[in-house]
């Protein structure tokens, strides 16, 4: 059982990524697709933060704790996750802007009905 718990957070990340990819591939609505892409990205947060965790550790902030008194989790992955969040938010904004225009120009947000580019 403990063997499973040792990798469970990583497996959750893998699961979230695959779930997002499945939703993206089978999506019938572009806004839903953009959401699915965010799900894929959430997998990267889970993985990064899981990788940086340390048993019994607290946040790497020393404003109310003397350095060395308690173990802290890896601050680098937290910074990476923060960058990742910003990237995700901006990409989502840009994608939604494009979806707004697709809805206006094509009159639909169903990817099955976008048939302008093919062959």
């Amino acid at each position: 059982m403990t063997a499973v718990l040792h990798v469970l957070p990583y497996l959750v990340a893998a699961w979230v990524f695959l779930a997002g990819a499945y939703g993206l591939a089978t999506s019938r609505n572009l806004i839903h697709a953009v959401g699915c892409l965010s799900v894929c990205q959430a997998a990267t947060y889970v993985l990064l933060l899981a990788v940086g965790y340390r048993d019994g550790a607290t946040a790497p902030v020393f404003s109310d704790m003397a350095p060395g008194t308690r173990p802290v989790v890896d601050p680098v992955v937290q910074a990476l996750a923060l960058t990742d969040v910003v990237v995700g938010a901006t990409v989502t904004a840009l994608l939604l802007a494009l979806v707004v225009q697709v809805a206006k120009r094509h009159g639909t947000v169903d990817p099955d009905e976008l048939t302008e580019l093919r062959g």
Binding site: L5, T26, D55, A59, V61, V76, V91, A93, L94, A97
Partner: protein, 261 residues
Amino acid sequence: MNPRTRLWLVATGGAGLAALLVAACLRLPDFGGDRHPYGDRAVRASLERHVANTVASVNFDQRAFDTLGELTILFAAVLGCMVLLRQTRDEHRAPPEPADVALPVRRYALLVLPVALLTGLYVVAHGQLSPGGGFQGGVVAATALHLLYLGADYRALERVRPIGPYEAGDALATSAYLVTGVAGLIGGSAFLANTLLPYGMFNTLASGGTVPLLNAAVGMEVACAVVVLLAGFLDQAVEIVEEGEDGERDDDGHDHEEPGK
């Protein structure tokens, strides 16, 4: 491709990827393990430079070059969204309708707005001391303004956020970050080097050398960027109408949002 074939493809590809990821997860170090060499070095480096929040030290000092990229991604997305959500030739602006808001909602929003704004600024200002920082606080401050949209209406919101200054603020904050970086190159040793200012007293607002400066620049950039981004989408939802629909012609972009009009 019909949905059935696609599903088969997804199943095949997904199964392969799943197998790969599971096999990899089983070989990862155990969750909660003690080996974080980079993390440990980052903590030491942060304490050397008198920054209490190690994440802020990583973001605005040790890996400040990453944050520059992050900042410009946001900046680029704002610019991109403004271009993508512009008013096109076949569209015009209709002035937003005044809206009726239930009194409790209005009271609550107006009461909370200054609190939320102050919280945002607090989170920005204490970036190098406590969890939070420019990114988090900037978002809080920017969304605080939008309580006006909920508590009053779109016209009220437009009065407090003329887009032009916010766009300029976005660009200027980005420039400020870059200029601080170049100052490090000219005056100190390297681009974005944190060697110009004294590191100050540990756990005070002025500690950490250039960390608070970069943090503030990021806070300003994020706040302005979120305001402009949301404005782009809200304009689409509220103001911009395709030709042939109702509403009077108004060509001068956002300029009619000047206060007092």
